[in-house]
Amino acid sequence: MSTADLLPLAIAIPLIGAAFSALVGSRLPRVATDLLVTVWAAAGVADLVVLWLRTGDGRAVSWLGGWRLRHGESVGIVLVNDRIGIGLALLTAVLVLAVIAYSWRYFDEPPAEHAGTFPALILLFDAGMCGFALTGDLFNAFVFFELMGAVAYALTGFRIEDPRPLQGALTFGVINSLAAYGSLLGIGLLYARTGELGFAQISQKLTGHRADALLLTAFVLVLTGPLVKGAVAPFHFWLPDAHAVAPTPVCMLLSGVMVELGVYGAARIYWIVFSGPHGIPQHVFHDTFVAAGVLTALVGAVMCWKQRNLKRMLAFSTVSHVGMFLVGLALLTPEATAGTALYVAGHAGAKAALFGVTGALLDRFGSVDEHSLYGRGRELPVGGVLFVLGGLALAGLPPFGTALGKAVAEHAAQSHSPWLLAVFVLASAATGAAVLRAALRVFAGAGRRPLDRHEVPETTGGGEEPEIRGPSRRVPLPMLAVPALLLAGSLAVGLLPAVSTQLAQAARLFTDRVGYVAAVYGHSHAAGMPPAADWTAEGIALGLTSVALAVAFACAALWAAPRGGGAHRVVAPLRRLHSGHMGDYVGWLIVGVAVLLVAVRAQL
């Protein structure tokens, strides 16, 4: 089997697995189904590991259906990727495997006559995300974007007994579908102009046109879908509403990799399709999306700090981190891209682990409310340790992968605009601090018992139904073992030098439009030098600074005298914007699109 064939197999394996699981799930005992699905997910991981190894520091190209280029033109679809996209697909497959293992004892009450439905949906989600990460075709990317959307809406609303998940799923579905229409309109504009759908082919044809209103509008519209999926402010409103109510294993996938895929898609599409001659100039993308990323990082950090519903807190932390990822990618340098890739990998392990422990809390106590869980987590010491470690990883404690990625991205940002450093440090410290504060309250009963006062209407996270019901009151082993393994994975990203050097090589390819186009057209192209992506004393110091700040914030929240005042007046209106009203969110969606249109036009 050639390397190229492994690309479509990464998508076909989970698709076939999903059909198989739906077919036999209701006919086999639960254990057999779980085992089968685990083997299937592992096969997906194995395929991508081999693909990662064989691709090396180059690109894998696969023309589906054998419709190769003839005279420089093809009617088919090409899958093409470097280790950034393959790495994201691998991350997806590993998280899916983790989620399936985590769910072995989860959902004792799936739809009785359709027992295989949940694993089938998870595998379809896997296929959608891998397809989106690996494709080199704009319309194909849209199809897989929709596949992961359709699955994610259903998985979000999985617990139908409670109206909240349905509300969250509906908001998620409507906002993401509207954004997808935007993307489709944009794809239509590009197709009308070029007659092509492949990233590289569109890019080549666009060089013959000047940058006009069509290009600008298509650029903004095509990017709307990925940016909404990537929860970039002001497109982020759906995310906390969906994450707070989705089943915990699903949150691990949504936060760990799906949201990141949105930002990846935006950067990939810009680099290959729009960054060529007569395209959207680099300074325009850079300025616009560094600003958007900083806004997202700060909004997410502030909102994360103010939450008491643990799942909502983790969701806003994802918003904040995705803001930093966007800043990293929008810097448009190989070094920042390498840092972001490492950051995403490290973050996925830490964030999925935190959601996993939260799921154990929910299972045990039927609540994810930081206040009402005060001190009750003492009987789950292992969970407490994992939660604290997760918080420290989020804040950027060396040698976690998050710290390495953040340090490399910070180094790249610093040489560009030093103030970005403050954004990175503050946002990671605030999100880490919120998690540490919650961990100390819940698992150690630290600080005063929180008062139950409501300054603004807020989501408490109490009165949730446990997602599992079983006769045993013990937390099932996988629900703590899987988070521990995920944290170990985050640690490995930081500790294994091979990972960082290989991602640095891949980042060089990711930022090389000419090389990508040459790979598709079968030309040879010499690549430049990879950036450095190693631990530095400066990076370690910055990581430790974030962690020290996070610990200080958390301690201040627990033990310092409460103060009202200025901060509250700033934060309360921001919290009120997150109203849960779908009309508001649709309004923000179109406002965001309009602002992008105006901002990009003004800079051209």
Binding site: S62, G66, L189
Partner: protein, 251 residues
């Protein structure tokens, strides 16, 4: 946000969007020109593959991988529908009331049901030759079955709707598409490559892999849509929420 503020924001942004999109449309190629870069290539490729219906050639051969994704979206929608529409713990089943139908309606229904099903099979089977194919034919098959609901009542529909079989058929159809792609890999060609004998242009057996995938999609769409509609109809007709209100849709 107040309603007024929300609307004001929306309209301000909508105006910007409308202006930008209108300006973008002025950059589109004119109507009625002879230049169709993808169209010309796709028609040539369809001829080469001896597939008379170019649309089917694009859908099931040239860009079959897109269709695999789309068909998986439908499969996911059916599974998701099953999950969301399942009977909750606090809902119970009420009996289905028998409906009263005019004899003429009943007669037309009984007459048209088999005709519609045959039409559906025809549309699926001739996808490589004439407009239609697995998606269109599948929808005709699924809706044809529901003539029983219109011409008789829900009980009759349930009797002629083998849900367990259709459930399985849905999964088999969805999986078959992805498995058919492996045929190419097995003979050393690319994934989803049309490696079957192409037959004679214009014959029912032409097109190689195209009619086979069409059949798989037809099975998946036909059974999937029935299963999905069954979920909705059960909710509307049979399932009673704990407040005890009958939805009043039962006939």
């Amino acid at each position: 946000m107040s309603r007024r503020l929300r609307l004001a924001l929306f309209w301000a942004a909508a105006v910007v969007f409308a202006v930008a999109f209108t300006a973008a449309c002025t950059g589109l190629p004119d109507f009625g020109t002879l230049s169709h870069p993808y169209g010309s290539r796709a028609i040539a490729a369809a001829f080469h593959q001896r597939t008379a219906n170019t649309i089917s050639s694009v859908n099931f051969d040239q860009r079959a991988f897109d269709t695999l994704g789309e068909e998986s979206i439908l499969f996911a929608a059916v599974l998701g529908g099953l999950v969301l529409l399942r009977r909750a713990r606090d809902e119970r089943l009420a009996g289905v009331r028998r409906g009263r139908v005019l004899p003429s309606t009943r007669m037309f229904g009984s007459l048209l049901l088999p005709i519609t099903l045959v039409t559906g099979v025809y549309i699926v089977a001739h996808g490589q030759l004439s407009p239609g194919g697995g998606f269109q034919g599948g929808v005709i098959l699924a809706t044809g079955l529901h003539l029983a609901y219109i011409a008789a009542d829900y009980g009759v529909l349930k009797a002629i709707r083998p849900l367990a079989v259709l459930d399985a058929a849905d999964a088999v159809g969805a999986g078959a598409f992805a498995v058919l792609g492996l045929v190419g890999l097995a003979v050393g060609a690319a994934y989803l490559q049309n490696v079957l004998p192409l037959g004679t242009f214009g014959q029912l057996s032409s097109g190689g892999l195209v009619p086979v995938i069409n059949a798989a999609v037809g099975v998946e769409v036909g059974s999937g849509v029935v299963v999905l509609l069954a979920g909705f109809l059960d909710q509307a007709v049979e399932i009673v929420s704990p407040t005890g209100k009958d939805n009043g849709a039962g006939r």
